[in-house]
Subunit: 254 residues, 2 copies
């Protein structure tokens, strides 16, 4: 269909989950046609790990990966807790994030779960190590494709570019070259939404994103004048997330 | 597919939207294969009407109905505001709700938008007038089916039964006879979720709903001992919702 807002594959089980305090979306994907029902979580949050693992259990899935789109500044990742609770799960983040994880991925890598896979696309600009995970291209992969864009591209917005190695010109290039080149019906699943949107499409953002539809100079100007406050979780979340969320919060450390 | 968590039809455009304060889900459905792209909103909230109408506009849809699953006690419906902003939109609620609306529906009615339709199923128990809207059964209708259950069935929960003509024994019967009889892969889209779940399936709730998997006596006992506080919005929301959300809030009246 030209415009449907859901993706279908006989293999894919997909769930979107929300963490209210940081307005973060966590995504569960599994290949349910594979005998093991291998599954992965994208951007799990520490506070909702029990909810996520309970769902994994109810659905009879085998969690194999806990993945981050980037080193988050607004919440502590659930990857460390998950690894403690489910032996064998491997954490994944980009090499460019300079964070620790079991597997460090780079642009062009494929992350297989059963016969499905996510393709890694480098989309720096919000942070130096931001990546977008895109479902595979092919007859056995979900159609339309799904892009987990982290904070690179949000519904009618994008992540800030004023810290963590951010760069507005890099973000502009990342979104235009790596996300807007995907088919128009590709579903855009962001790491956050603050207005209650759950999904968008590449076509929609190319037409209606109030920032990224502008020319590069206007975009840079918008990004340099957001006047955002320093994120309140940043000094706790970033150091913790660089080691899979396992570092003691700063207040508790010696 | 046996277990996918999304519904596909070449005709259906579907969006789930969230209102954070009352944790309410609003649903947008449209027949995008029809030249008019007729659309409807299920359970719109007054505070998010502008967001919803902006999305309707971006997607090039023609909104024809604004529908409620029941007379809500926790938020003011957006139907009245929508009717004021988009001439021609008709509000819909069940006849049994004793509320005002342009169209009053009853069990077995079909609500057509283009060549797609929602079937009305009476599911009283949370309130006397609660209905569940279920996408049609047929080759041209979305598969798997989608059930918009309001507060009758929530993900791993259900609505309270201690006011607005609520009845735990009626709710038990409604869910078992009208929702649990749908195909197992039917997607369950509730009016609320407080833990960040976005969707479930009939199969999952039949297996894991902590209340409705119990026998009727145990269920009644659970529901009679919830010790919930009086909803803070109730005295404003219920009178307003009985007239499409258009009544002045009590504090402002006379
Ligand atoms: Fe971020
Ligand atoms: Fe309700």
């Amino acid at each position: 269909g030209c415009c449907t807002s859901s993706s279908q594959s006989s293999r894919l089980l997909f769930r979107q989950l929300f963490e209210k305090e940081s307005s973060t979306y966590t995504y569960l994907l599994a290949d349910v046609a594979h005998p093991d029902k291998p599954a992965l979580l994208v951007d799990p949050v520490d506070k909702t790990v029990d909810r996520d693992l309970s769902l994994v259990k109810d659905l009879g899935l085998k969690l194999i990966y806990a993945i981050n789109t980037h080193c988050h500044a607004d919440h502590v990742t659930g990857t460390g807790l998950i690894k403690g609770k489910v032996p064998g799960v491997k954490s994944i983040i980009s090499k460019a994030s300079n964070s620790k994880a079991d597997l460090l991925v780079e642009h062009g890598d494929k992350i297989y779960f059963g016969d499905l896979f996510l393709e890694v696309r480098a989309t720096p600009g919000h942070t130096l190590g931001c990546v977008t995970y895109v479902t595979g291209d092919g007859p056995d992969q979900p159609h339309p494709r799904m892009a987990f864009t982290g904070d690179a591209l949000l519904v009618r917005g994008c992540g800030r570019t004023d810290f963590q190695g951010g760069s507005s010109s890099q973000l502009y290039d990342s979104v235009h070259s790596q996300i807007f080149t995907l088919p128009g019906d590709t579903l855009v699943y962001p790491a956050h939404d603050y207005k209650g949107h759950t999904v968008s499409t590449v076509r929609e953002e190319k037409l209606y994103n109030p920032r990224l539809t502008k020319d590069e100079d206007t975009f840079k100007n918008i990004m340099e004048n957001l006047n955002l406050s320093y994120p309140k979780m940043m000094d706790i979340a970033v150091p913790a997330n660089m080691v899979c969320g396992l570092q003691e919060p700063i207040g508790k450390a010696a």
